[in-house]
Each structure stands twice: as C-alpha cells, then as structure tokens.
Amino acid sequence: MTLTENLFENLRLELRRGCLTLAVLAQLRQEHYGYTLRKALAKRGLEIDESTLYPLLRRLEAQGLLTSEWREEDKRNKRFYRLSSDGQAIFAQLFEEWQAINAAIHLTIDNIQ
C-alpha cells in the first residue's frame, strides 16, 4: 500500500467510524441479531466486517443505547438487539447532527464549484 493509499484508508476509516454507529442505531429501531443486522446493512450498501460490527453491538449495549435478549430461532440460540429508550433519544439527536453536517458539507462543496 502506498503512502497516499494508506492515508486515504486511515481517513476513510475515521470518516466511517461515526457513520457506522449511526447506521447501526438506525437499523436497530427494528430487532435484529448480529448476522441479520450485517446483512440488512449490506443490502443498503453499508458493508461492515464481522470483527467490527459484533463488538460494536456489545459496546453500544454497555453504553445503554441497546437492549438485548437471548432467544431461540431456527433451533439456534441467538442474541437479539434493539434500540433502548435512551438509544432512541440519542439516535434522534445524532441523526439531526449528521443531517446538519451533511447539509453544511454539500453547501460548502456547491459554493466552491
């Protein structure tokens, strides 16, 4: 990997980090377990590695933004996650923030062009 590619990769990861959290919170307004959540996000164009998504779910749960429960489905025990009430409030605020940033970036780019 060249220096420029490496720099781009680091910046891309930095940019994605916050967006992934927002996307996960958005998707978990509906209940999912890890794998179906990953598939649902991929279907909407947001690929996330297993080793990123599953620990992220744990962290968000530890922060009180998600709730989870073990349940049997298709003869297999799975851990299902959904947004907690705190998570819903935080998600609404984050979404608003993201929209404001997005709009500001678009305005800046349009102004320069």
């Binding site: 794998y35 179906t36 990953r38 297993e50 080793s51 599953y54 297999r76 799975k78 851990r79």
Partner: protein, 345 residues
C-alpha cells in the same frame, strides 16, 4: 465445522474470562448462520480451502478478541501531553541536580578524572530511572482514571477551569529574538573585546588590574600562583583573540546582523579546555608556597584549604559551563529543526 470450533476456541483464549462464554456463544450463532447462508448459496458444504479463506477474512483470533476489549492505553491521548511536559521537565531538572551533586561529591571526596568519568557514565542510568518513574506514575493515574472515573478523574479534566488571563506574559526573547543586531552594537562589541584583550595582556605585569589591592597582599604573602596558570592564561588570551578576530571578520564582511549561536557555542566549548586543564593539575597545586622549606610547617594547612577551595569552585564552574553549553547546543539544534520544518511546510 471443526475449523470453526478451533477458530472460536482460539478467540476465546484472548477474551476476558468473565465474558468469554457469552461472547463466543454469540459469535458462534452469527458465524454459523453466515456459514449456512454461504452453503445454501453454493448448494454444498464449504471445502476446507473455502472455509479457511472465509475465517481468514474474518481476521486473526487475537485481533477479533481485541475488538471486544475496551481501548487500552498505558497513557491515553488526553493525559499524554501532560505526561510529555512533565517528563521533559523531570529529565532536565534531574540532570541539573545530578551534575551539581556529582561535581560537589567529586570535589569533597577524592577528586580525580576517573570519578568524573564514572559520574558521566551513570547519566543514562539516572535518566532512564527518571523516565521510568514518571511513566509509572502517569500509567497509574491513567489506570485509576479509566477504572474509577468518578473517584479519580483525569487531572486534565480540571484544565477546563483555566482562563487565558492566567497565561504567562510573552517571553522577551520571542518578541525581540528576530531583531537583527545593529551596526553600533557590533562595533561596540568589537571595541570592548579589544579593550578586554589589552587588559588581559597587561595583567601579568600589573596584577593589581585583576586583584586590586589583593595584589600587594599576594606579593607580601608566603603564597604564589603555580606555573600551571601560565598555559591556562595563554589559552584564555587565545580565546579572546579568536573571538575578537571573529567579530572583526563579521564587521568587514557586513555579516554582523545574523545570529551568532555557532560562534558563541564554539567559544564556550573551547572555554571548557582551560577549566579541564585546571581540574587536572597534578596534586591540585594551584597555589604554592614561595619558600616551601621555610613555610611548609606554618602555612601547609592553609595552603591545602586554599587549593581545595579552588578545586571545588573550578568543579562547580566546569559543571555549570558544561550544562550551559549542552543547553545552548540543544536550543541551536531546535531552532535549526524548526526552520527546516517551517521551510518544508
């Protein structure tokens, strides 16, 4: 699948024991569901090679397990600037204290070049111990702040209380540092340098120019300066000539405006040589008796006291001169580095 079991077992080994079963159970459910999907898509079980490729894509077990752990730092980014600041201060002041301590110890105990060399060779050990101690203290602060944030908040969290009005005034050097020296200043330096040289050359024949009324006392006293002062004197004269020559060349070439740190540091480094010569005088006899056969019994003890005093003074002076030189060279290096970094931007 046996390979998946082996993979999950390897992940489990790197997880915290109180959560490992729960995490591995969840990871297994997710990976098995993914495997089923893959196999349904292919219409057959994965081959050994495909299974290996799939697990390889998920990542090495140690890295997958690490993602489940909270981010761990020995010293985190919030505390690091304070740590770095304290570390630099500690290293500097410990070096100063150690150098003075060693100089005094050498002078008081058994003054020798070997003892001085031993003192210098112990510097890395002293610096490493200082750095390790500071690092350990900050690692403990980080650990406590991470584990018990309520009871032990990070000291930097309190820095929100600071106000700009508490900042120290701007350094004079920072304001006037870039101002070039004036021609009058450079000429005055050369004139005073010349007068100082003339004064220095007159001292041997007119010692009162250096010692004042003490010269008359010295002439009538049983003591006199040892011949070792002669080469030291000429070295000092040579240094003054060099400095004066440099200033004259600067004036002739019209380059008196520029910074003169390199010249200053060279003169300072050469100035260390007479001090070192002084410290290595045989038997530490800087002052001797004019008539040793007659006066040894009466003035021997006083002579020892005088020579010990000179040695102690010269040791401290030498330690301070070395420190000052190191400091100046460090500053010069830093300035060069800053200029290069600024030019590259």
């Amino acid at each position: 699948m046996e390979l998946l079991d082996r993979y999950l077992q390897a992940v489990k080994k790197h997880l915290p024991w109180e959560r490992q079963d729960d995490i591995v159970a969840e990871l297994r459910a997710n990976l098995e569901a993914q495997l089923e999907d893959k196999e349904a898509e292919l219409g057959r079980p994965l081959t050994a090679g495909e299974a290996e490729e799939w697990l390889k894509q998920i990542g090495p077990p140690i890295q997958v397990a690490a993602r489940y752990m909270p981010q761990q730092y020995l010293i985190g980014p919030a505390l690091f600037p304070t740590y770095w600041f304290v570390l630099r201060l500690a290293v500097f002041w410990v070096t100063v204290a150690y150098s003075i301590g060693v100089a005094v110890q050498i002078a008081v105990r058994t003054p020798s070049l070997t003892a001085a060399l031993e003192g210098v060779l112990r510097v890395p050990e002293v610096l490493l111990t200082t750095a390790a101690s500071v690092t350990l203290i900050f690692a403990v602060i980080e650990f406590l702040a991470t584990r018990y944030p309520g009871r032990w908040p990070l000291p930097v969290a309190r820095s929100a209380d600071w106000t700009p009005s508490t900042l120290p005034p701007v350094d004079k050097e920072a304001v006037s540092g870039q101002k070039p020296r004036s021609y009058a200043h450079a000429v005055a330096e050369a004139i005073f340098g010349f007068l100082a040289l003339v004064w220095l050359l007159l001292v041997p024949d007119h010692p009162y120019l250096l010692m004042g009324p003490g010269a008359a006392y010295m002439q009538g006293s049983p003591f006199q300066l040892a011949p070792v002062w002669v080469p030291i004197y000429w070295w000092v004269v040579g240094l003054n000539v060099l400095q004066l020559g440099w200033r004259a060349v600067d004036l002739l070439r019209g380059s008196w405006r520029g910074p003169r740190s390199a010249q200053r540091n060279t003169v300072q480094a050469l100035g260390l040589i007479p001090l070192l010569l002084l410290l290595n005088v045989r038997d530490h006899a800087w002052v001797v008796l004019s008539h040793p056969a007659m006066d040894q019994a009466r003035y021997g003890a006083a002579l020892d006291g005088i020579n010990k005093g000179i040695y102690l003074g010269a040791s401290i002076l030498c330690a301070l001169a070395v420190l000052q030189l190191v400091w100046e060279i460090g500053r010069m290096g830093l300035n060069v580095y800053r200029k290069r970094a600024a030019a590259m931007r």
